[in-house]
Structure formats: structure tokens, C-alpha cells
């Protein structure tokens, strides 16, 4: 099967996957006791008011009808609905929160990949048992530390000694500046360039350092491990020995033979890690008050706000599908065997 077919079948599969997931979520959320209306203040609100609220959300309809409506609105109208209490379009909320999560995901991936690749290459270059053991211990230890634990410790250190901002994505004042731009992308770095405010960009960078480090360190455990194993594996291939037999210097061997071939498994793993990354982001966002999708979905679950949960899940599924698609396409560039 050619790459094109693969990509296409993945594309076609995505809505199906989203559909399956949404059905699962629907069932999950609807068997929960409580609905968004019960989130209203514990006051003596008249029953008729509550009933009207339920009706507004369609919660009075039979379950199957709700299911049909909901699938219909997502797949046919591309409408993610409104939050139950504020009645804000979920798509609006997601649009404002997604960039934050993407920023965090990218920044922490950079940290993780940088650490992983550096350590992986190091072990390949200096085939010493000590370095190898150190790297493997590092990857296990780092993997064992929950994000929120790293986060908590980092926060303390940073607030006490480094003076880095420890919560949030941007100073509130700067946030307002960017949000009132006539045209904005939602991505802080880009927006601050549009606004011509390098100081805001700097403010953002200083805010993202800690959360990206916390999540990146955690992810680097897996990355280091996989890089290590992949580089180990490619370094034990015959072509490495063949390269050495031609007198290629060791750095060239490590980079052109070891690392380049390790990129393929790394990429696969990177694709699989995206779900883990987004999961880890929930905890990171909680710890660092980072207003992203993770916080949104967590609150949505606690508030029983079906629309938020369903909308976020849809987006998650689409993101994961798109990322794996991207990974598959990237394959073609890394691994010539896939090209055709």
C-alpha cells in the first residue's frame, strides 16, 4: 500500500474514530448522576426554572434522541454546542484554549526531544557502560516522577530563587494586550510579534519555561529510552560496521548511520506519545494554571458539562489523528523505503 493510500485511509478513519469515541463519551457522561443544571448554585431556584433550563439543553428528551441530536450536530452541522451554564459556544472555548495546549505541547516536546536525542547520541558515541547505565537510570528516574511533583518542586525553586513566573501563560496585563489585537492567532509568540511587543514574547517565554520543563522532563524519560534503544539498535546493524570498515569517523557514523536510522522508530514513538503528551498536559496545566484544553476538559468533567467534554474529546481525537497523519507523512522524508 502506497503512502497516499495509507494517508487517505487514515483520513477516512478519523471521523469513524471520532464517532466511536464520542459514542463512548456519550454513554459515559450520560450514566453519570447529575447534569449540568445541578451545577447551579445550591439555592432555592424554583423547579420550573430548572426544568426550563433542562429543556433548553435538550436534557428532557429521551436518551436516544439526545444521542442522535448530538451526533447530528457534530457530524452534519460541525457544531460543538454550547456550554450548559454560560452558554458560550464550545468551539469558541476550544479555540481560545487550544493554542495554549499546543504551545505547551510544542515547548515540552522540544525539551524532551532535545534531551532524548542528546543523551541517545551520547551513548552511541561513547560506548561506555557507565554512560549507558547513567542514561538508562536517568530515563527511568525521570519517568518515575509525576509531572505535578516535578512541577511543585520547580515552582518552589523558581519562586524562591530564580524569580521566574510560576503560574499562568502570560502576565494578565499582557494577556489583555494580545487579546485586544484586531487580528490575532491565539499563539502568544506570533501575536506578540503582530503586536510588535518583544517584551510580551519574552514574558511568555519566561512563563513557559517551567511548565515546559516539567512536562518535557517527564516525557524525556520515554524519549531518552526510545532514542537510546533505537540508536543502540541501529548502531548494532551491519551497515555501521561496514561504514567503520570504510574508515568513516565515529561522529559521522553516529549521526549519519546511528541517529538517522533511529529517527524512524523515534518518529513512530513520537506519534504514539502525542496522546501521553496531551494527558500529561492535563496535570501540567493544573499545576501551572495554564489555561489549556486539559484544564477545560477536566473542569468540564467535574461540571458534567457534556458539551465541553464532547467537544474537547472530538478535538483530542482529531489532533491525535492529525498528528499520526503528520508522522506518517514525515516517514516518507525520513525513511526512503516508504517513498514511492
Amino acid at each position: 500500500m502506497g503512502l497516499k493510500e495509507y494517508v487517505l485511509s487514515r483520513l477516512l478513519l478519523t471521523p469513524v474514530m471520532v464517532f466511536v469515541l464520542l459514542s463512548v463519551v456519550f454513554v459515559l457522561m450520560r450514566v453519570l448522576p447529575g447534569d449540568p443544571i445541578t451545577m447551579l448554585e445550591g439555592k432555592n431556584i424554583p423547579e420550573d426554572v430548572l426544568a426550563r433550563r433542562r429543556a433548553e439543553l435538550g436534557l428532557d428528551k429521551p436518551l436516544y434522541q439526545q444521542y442522535v441530536d448530538y451526533i447530528y450536530s457534530i457530524f452534519v452541522k460541525f457544531d460543538l454546542g454550547y456550554t450548559a451554564l454560560e452558554r458560550i459556544p464550545v468551539s469558541y472555548l476550544i479555540a481560545t484554549r487550544l493554542p495554549a495546549t499546543v504551545e505547551l505541547a510544542i515547548a515540552s516536546s522540544i525539551v524532551a526531544v532535545a534531551i532524548g536525542v542528546a543523551l541517545g547520541v551520547l551513548t552511541a558515541r561513547y560506548q561506555s557502560a557507565l554512560v549507558k547505565t547513567a542514561v538508562r537510570v536517568y530515563s527511568s528516574v525521570v519517568y518515575s516522577i509525576p509531572v505535578f511533583y516535578i512541577g511543585m518542586l520547580l515552582q518552589l525553586v523558581a519562586s524562591k530563587s530564580i524569580g521566574l513566573p510560576t503560574t499562568g501563560r502570560l502576565s494578565p496585563v499582557n494577556m489583555v494586550v494580545l487579546d485586544t489585537l484586531p487580528f490575532r492567532t491565539g499563539f502568544t509568540l506570533i501575536d506578540s510579534i503582530i503586536a510588535g511587543r518583544p517584551d510580551i514574547a519574552l514574558d511568555f517565554l519566561s512563563h513557559i519555561v517551567l511548565p515546559a520543563t516539567a512536562l518535557g522532563l517527564y516525557l524525556s524519560g520515554v524519549f531518552t529510552r526510545v532514542t537510546y534503544l533505537a540508536v543502540e539498535d541501529s548502531m548494532s546493524q551491519e551497515y555501521v560496521r561496514a561504514a567503520r570498515s570504510r574508515g568513516i569517523r565515529e561522529w559521522g557514523v553516529v549521526l549519519r548511520y546511528g541517529l538517522r536510522n533511529a529517527l524512524i522508530p523515534l518518529l513512530t514513538m513520537g506519534g504514539l506519545q502525542i496522546a501521553a503528551l496531551l494527558g500529561g498536559a492535563v496535570l501540567t496545566e493544573t499545576t501551572f494554571n495554564w489555561d489549556g484544553l486539559g484544564l477545560l476538559v477536566y473542569e468540564g468533567i467535574l461540571k458534567r458539562d457534556y458539551a465541553i467534554v464532547q467537544g474537547t474529546v472530538t478535538i483530542y481525537a482529531v489532533i491525535v489523528a492529525l498528528v499520526s497523519l503528520l508522522v506518517d507523512i514525515t516517514y516518507a522524508y525520513v525513511d526512503p523505503r516508504v517513498r514511492y
Binding site: 469515541l21 463512548v24 518515575s144 496522546a275 503528551l277 492535563v282 496535570l283 486539559g294 476538559v297 477536566y298
Partner: protein, 293 residues
Amino acid sequence: MRLPRGFGEWGILVGGLLTAIFVAMAIASTFVTIGNATESYVVVDGRRVEVPPLMPPGYTLEVGGKRIVFLMGTDQLGRDVFARVVGGARFVLTIAFLSTAISAVVGVLLGLLSGYIGGLFDRAVSLLMDSMYAMPGLVLAIAIAALLGVGVLNISVAIAVVYIPSYYRMVRGVVLSLKSSPFVEAARVAGAGPWAIVAKHVLPNTMPAIVSLLPVSFADAIITEAGLTFLGLGIEPPTPDWGFDLNKGRQFFLAGYWWIGVFPGLMIVLSVLGFLMLGEGLNEVMNPRRVEA
């Protein structure tokens, strides 16, 4: 006796040791009371004595000539942090064990069936599993934990659901590759039916993969459990639990009462590390990558 050699053997030693300590803690806390893990008082000579809250590690309480040492200090209610940390082992390990068992059994069964039966069944189950896999695990676990509410079994199920796809995918992959392997074909030529083949040839050969996944997913379960209870899901205080206590400790961390959260956090790290190392060690010793025969 010789010293362990290589990462694998050291992994088994260190990991095994850590694991043993935690299992011992879990078992110990089932049978003996270590300290006031769930109450703010200690009973001395039949008398209740309230323990002052927020005392630093090493705090010593003298009552009626007796000295009670609080190795890791006391928490915001005057409970013994050390006792809670030890008690937490039981809760956490039970959940990790249950959830790993559930996900392994369900995942392996589904994987076997799917891989062997193939066809429409395989497609349907694979689609479901892939969809679940595409979902950030923690989010799924949060949703299910919120659905099921508190309780050991509930939180175990919430975690288990997340890891079923891992087992499923792995086993299915192995089954698919085994299905066309020459020794399975040889069995078919010998006249064996599908069940005999699965039982005698397929299942035993998925074992190494399953066994090497077990400690890792056990470690993952601990982390996920900690994540859930950190978010306040699934647990009923005053049950001691590391994730929950860490979150509690976080609320007192900045005010200088670091010991409430740091110790439970350390337990999470060490127990996860223990199982990971054990897993890696076992994996390396069982499936040596390079022939060093």
C-alpha cells in the same frame, strides 16, 4: 555470591529491592498499626492525646513518659506522615495490582480473539481500541473515575480501561505474526484446530511480551493512580494515598510545610522506579537484545 552484572541484573536487584520494600510496607500496614495514619490523635494508655498539626520531621511527642517520634512530621491535622506514607503503599499497590490485572486479562483476551479470529470482529475491536488509544489516557481515566466515583475497584477500573489497548495491541500484534509463523503452520499441517493452536502455540509465545509489559504497566498504573487522586478523584479520605496527600501537601508547600507533600511524592517516585527497573531488568535478562551468549 557474585555482584550483579550489567543493567539487567542491577535493575532486578535494585528494582526488586524497592518493590519488595513497598510490598512489605503494604502488607505491614494491613496487619499492624504503624502510627496515627487516619486520626489526629494517638492513644496512650487508653487515653486520647491530640497530636499538634504541621510539626516538622523528627518531632517528638512526650506523653506520660512515653516518647513518640514522628519521623516525617505531622500533617495539617496532626496525623503521622510516616504512617500515612506506609499506609498509602497498600492502597496504591492494591489499585495498581487490580488495574494491571484487569487490563492484562481483558486486553490479552481481546487481543488473542481479535488476532486469531480476524475479519469483522478484529476490525470492530481494533477500531474501538485505536479510538481509545487516541484518547489521552489520563482524560479517559478522569472521565471514568468521575463516572464511577470513589472506591478501590472503581479507580482500578478507570485505570485499567486506559491500559487495555496497550495489551490488546501488543498481543494482537504478536498473534498476527505468530499466526503465519512456520511453527504454527506446522501445527496446522499436523491437523491441530484453532483452540489447540492458540492454547499451545500462540498464548505461551505471547507470554514474554506480556510479562515484560506487566511491571511497566504496573508502574504506569501507579503514576496514573497518583494523577487521579492528585486531582481528587477516586479516593475517600482519610484513606492514606500518595497522590492525594501530595496534593494536600502542595497546599501547604509554599507556606513552608514541605514534608506533607514531599514524602508521599518521593514514595510515588521510588515505587514507580522500583517497578520500572524490575521490568527493564527482567526484560533484559529474559530477552537479551544482543547475543552475548
